[in-house]
């Protein structure tokens, strides 16, 4: 497989200009003759679909929810970064770039990250123009906060609902184009396969989730903005419907899957309360700005927190990382929580939790200020746990949150399959081995508003895709394969529910490919997963028929894909015999338990290539070089 990242030449701050200049343009009169299929209506998909339609392309957009406004992006709480330096605290494009490359533990492509930092400033302007109600200061200017371990205040926010407001901005732009007849929207429609004709991505196979009808759609390019695959772990902070099917089907049609093992675990989530638990709820990271994290010094101390005196508490982040304290990056905070719980010092049911305490903040700032900053989060916590965080410390525990891995893309956001573009969390591009807070929203919107609309034009003008018919062989073949797969799932008539399989694969991953990984554990998981998959195809119970609303069938298809993806995740984690960012291999740590990279051997993007059923996927490497950010061991001490 040829992996050409197509990074433009020239100095890093000129690369994007250079590329935009090199690009071929599509004649405005011809744009409407090009149909572009955009799968996904999250920040990445909706912003891309709206912007492409504004430029004049004919766009078809798909999502599985009942409305594009409900994409998982809606749940993002904390904020979106931009190098505006409005606070005059020394921020710049260079600093945001530097922080993101370092935060990603030197496993991302410098040129992409630099462009992201450059574009970040335009995103805020665009969203303001759309009427996104960002928080304001009394003087009327935009407010910022520091977030997720950044030492400058560059995060823009709309209360605790930033993702919602940004998505509604993109959704409204999308609805405007739908109203103008420029975008055809297909809600409650799931993409079940990618169609490749003459080596180019030319279409998709979809299932209407109301009628069950299978359809093929043809276009000149396909854009996947289908989000992350964190739900492979079953329990995660992702929405229940988030899935890997679109990117997994594309992988099986030849698109390379990059760095699947890079999965982010968020340190501040509400702990599991029972076997019935269906998802985990994130408590915004902004809480770490004022909350203090601690556990009892003594093992198995079961006294209520109020009865544990200060000298018997271990504020372990402040102790271990005096410079960053409670604001260390996510991977570091999560791992530290796991360590204290492994030592038997965790709190709450099963000892799987640590305290996040606001007592000092309430004393220092007064309850009204704390209420103003975090009121809605405290309310949410109380609604879920029945405990009042103004009175007792919150209990939190890390949970799967985000996936840095995804389909491999070049600088133009095109995968190795010509005509297949991948945006947002679905691609692997900008976050390396660890994503910093408030940077996924930034990336999704950068991709969708400001990168893809240009690069897709260049592709269309250069590749000049020929006419295709949705009735031609590659389409009908793909549809037949999808149908056969659905028939197979419905025909098993087994005894175990889809969820039981999903929970089991999630447990295997969490145990052996979660916050800390070992070769031994990964090999164990690589043994268990294929066995479980085999059992799934023999014993899963999927009731009902194909031509009706069938939520079990939807889930079964997604879990079948997770059962394959899980194996690739472990394979990648095993191959990467180093620690970096969120990928901690216990064999590779510094003496004080920090991730120890091996730049000589692993400074590459691992792009996996499907080789057929039962075959070992092939590993292709895109080497990474760091010319602008000096390779160094991360330190937050």
């Amino acid at each position: 497989m040829q992996l050409d990242a197509k990074v433009p030449s020239g100095p890093i701050e000129k690369k994007w200009d250079q590329r935009r200049f090199e690009m071929k343009l599509v004649n405005p009169a011809n744009k409407r003759k090009h149909t572009i299929l955009v799968v996904g209506s999250g920040l990445a998909g909706a912003s891309a679909a709206a912007s492409l339609a504004e430029l004049g392309y004919h766009v078809k957009c798909f999502c599985f929810q009942d409305s594009p406004r409900r994409a998982h992006s809606i749940a993002a709480q904390g904020g979106i970064n931009a190098a505006k330096n409005y606070q005059n605290d020394g921020d710049s494009v260079m600093r945001l770039f530097y922080d993101t490359v370092k935060g990603g533990d030197f496993r991302s492509r410098e040129s992409n990250v630099y462009r992201l930092a450059q574009i970040s400033v335009e995103i805020i302007d665009q969203c303001v123009a759309q009427g996104v109600p960002f928080a304001r200061e009394y003087g009327g200017l935009l407010a910022n906060r520091s977030f997720g371990g950044a030492q400058v205040s560059r995060t823009f926010y709309a209360r605790g609902q930033t993702g919602q407001q940004l998505l509604l901005g993109a959704y409204q732009a999308l609805e405007r184009q739908i109203g103008l007849g420029k975008v055809e929207m297909f809600p409650r429609t799931e993409m079940l396969d990618l169609v490749i004709a003459d080596g180019q991505a030319r279409g998709i196979v979809t299932r209407n989730l109301i009628t069950g009808k299978l359809e093929t759609q043809a276009g000149d390019a396909v854009v996947l903005g289908t989000g992350g695959y964190g739900n492979v772990f079953y329990l995660s902070t992702n929405a229940k419907g988030s899935n890997a099917t679109a990117i997994w089907r594309a992988y099986k049609r030849g698109a390379a899957f990059a760095n699947p093992c890079y999965t982010q675990i968020h340190p501040t989530c509400i702990p599991v309360s029972g076997e019935y638990q269906s998802k985990l709820t994130l408590m915004s990271e902004s809480l770490r700005n004022d909350g203090r994290i601690w556990v009892p010094l003594k093992k198995g101390d079961s006294r209520p927190p109020s009865q544990i005196p200060a000298e018997e508490r271990d504020y372990y982040l402040e102790r271990r990382y005096p410079a960053f304290g409670n604001l260390v990056p996510r991977d570091v905070a999560s791992r530290a929580a796991k360590q204290v719980c492994d030592e038997g010092r965790g709190v709450g049911p099963g000892g799987l939790g640590v305290y996040l305490d606001f007592k000092n903040a309430i004393e220092r700032l007064g309850e009204p200020v704390v209420r103003d900053r975090y009121g809605n989060l405290f309310e949410m916590y109380e609604r879920i746990t029945g405990e009042d965080p103004y009175q007792v410390p919150m209990r939190i525990f890390p949970a799967i949150h985000y996936t840095m891995g995804g389909l491999w893309v070049d600088y133009n956001l095109m995968s190795n399959v010509p005509g297949l573009f991948v945006v947002g969390e679905a691609n692997f591009s900008d976050h390396g081995a660890n994503r910093l807070g408030a940077s996924a929203l930034m990336q999704g919107l950068a991709d969708g508003y400001f990168v893809l609309p240009y690069t897709i034009g260049d592709y269309l003008a250069t590749a000049k895709p020929a006419k295709v018919e949705a009735a031609s062989a590659p389409f009908t073949d793909a549809e037949r394969e999808v149908k056969a797969r659905l028939d197979k799932l419905l025909g098993i008539n087994g005894k175990r529910t889809v969820d039981s399989f999903h929970k089991e694969v999630g447990r295997i991953l969490w145990e052996d490919c979660g916050m800390a990984r070992t070769a031994e554990g990964l090999k164990r998981a690589l043994q268990k997963i294929p066995e479980l998959r085999e059992q799934f195809w023999k014993d899963v119970a999927v009731l009902g028929g194909e031509g009706e609303v069938n939520q079990q069938l939807e889930k079964a298809g997604r879990v079948a894909d997770f059962l394959e993806l899980a194996e690739l995740i472990c394979l990648d984690a095993l191959d990467r015999a180093e620690s970096c960012g969120c990928h901690l291999r216990e064999e590779f740590q510094t003496p004080d338990g920090e991730a120890k990279r091996n730049d000589a051997d692993f400074s590459y993007v691992a792009a996996w290539e499907w080789k057929g059923p039962g075959e070992q996927p092939a590993l292709n490497k895109e080497p990474l070089s760091f010319e602008h950010v000096h390779l160094a061991q991360r330190s937050y001490k």
Binding site: S47, S51, E54, Q65, D66, S67, P68, R69, R70, H72, I74, A75, Y86, E122, I124, D125, Q126, V128, A129, Q130, G131, P133, F134, A135, R136, G139, G140, L141, A158, Q161, Q165, Y171, Q172, A173, E175, R176, I178, G179, P187, I210, A239, K240, S273, Y276, T281, L282, M380, R383, I384, F450, P453, K495, T497, D499, A541, L543, G544, E548, V549, Q552
Partner: protein, 252 residues
């Protein structure tokens, strides 16, 4: 951990065209820490185990923000707890032996799809009629060139918090969508960015709202009481004011 038994009467309807009816189920092991939807997950796992069709219901984020979930519990949209979507409703608010009746939103503009699921695409069409600021991507001024007072920004945010769940319509005796539509008109109408299109927006959105078959608002206030995001009735006053002004303007 306390656990208890519930009796559920659930509306079962195979498709939009089929007839529906209530079916009675017992859920023996409800934990007080479960969410309402997790309780339904437990019921569904048991139903599948018995070879029966699970209950279909819409949901996604389970965090009260996507607006996908929602059905009636004993006549209350999203259940008995104010300010809460059904995915954020926890079982500690129910008691042993309680009998509950679950049914989908009932409104002409929201046809039933299956069991507790309805089709709310009418809301999308109301937004497509004018719930936006007509700016294309690119070429916009710097975000700070347009100062917006904190109070206005906060009030716009209050209205923008609507999650499009449809509870307001379900609870309204007239099945009106005034709270939903008024929320978007207010969000944009309170901001300077929304001024150029303020009149046309109100006129188009209100016209579309009626075309979709939503009823007329008679100010019963049921919508405000049930709204999980505390959208205030004043958004309806603003919608009416903008609509009237638009009508007057369009006559000169």
């Amino acid at each position: 951990m306390k656990s208890f038994k519930l009796i559920l009467n659930v509306w079962r309807q195979k498709s939009g065209n089929a007839d529906g009816k209530f079916v009675r189920y017992e859920v023996p092991d409800v934990s007080e820490h479960m969410s309402f939807l997790e309780m339904l997950d437990v019921l569904n796992e048991a139903l599948i185990g018995r070879g029966e069709q699970p209950v279909a219901f819409d949901h996604d984020c389970r965090e009260g923000i996507c607006g996908m979930c929602g059905f009636m519990i004993n006549g209350d949209a999203h259940g008995p707890l104010p300010g809460t979507t059904v995915c954020q409703l926890h079982m500690r608010h129910f008691h042993d032996g309680q009998e509950l009746w679950l049914e989908p939103w009932r409104a002409r503009a929201f046809p039933v799809v299956r069991d507790l699921m309805v089709n709310r695409s009418a809301f999308d069409r109301v937004i497509a009629a004018g719930g936006f600021v007509s700016v294309n991507t690119g070429g916009v001024p710097d975000g700070n060139t347009l100062p917006i007072g904190k109070l206005d920004a906060d009030r716009a945010m209050d209205a923008a918090a609507c999650i499009g769940c449809g509870a307001c319509v379900a609870m309204c005796p007239n099945s009106a969508a005034a709270l939903f539509t008024g929320a978007k008109i207010s969000h944009l109408g309170l901001l300077p960015q929304g001024q150029p299109e303020r009149n046309t927006r109100a006129e188009r959105m209100v016209t579309q709202m009626h075309a979709e078959g939503f009823g007329h608002c008679t100010s019963t206030g049921e919508c405000e009481a049930v709204c999980p995001k505390h959208i205030k009735l004043e958004v309806i006053a603003r919608m009416n004011a903008d609509f009237l002004r638009a009508k007057l303007r369009s006559r000169d």
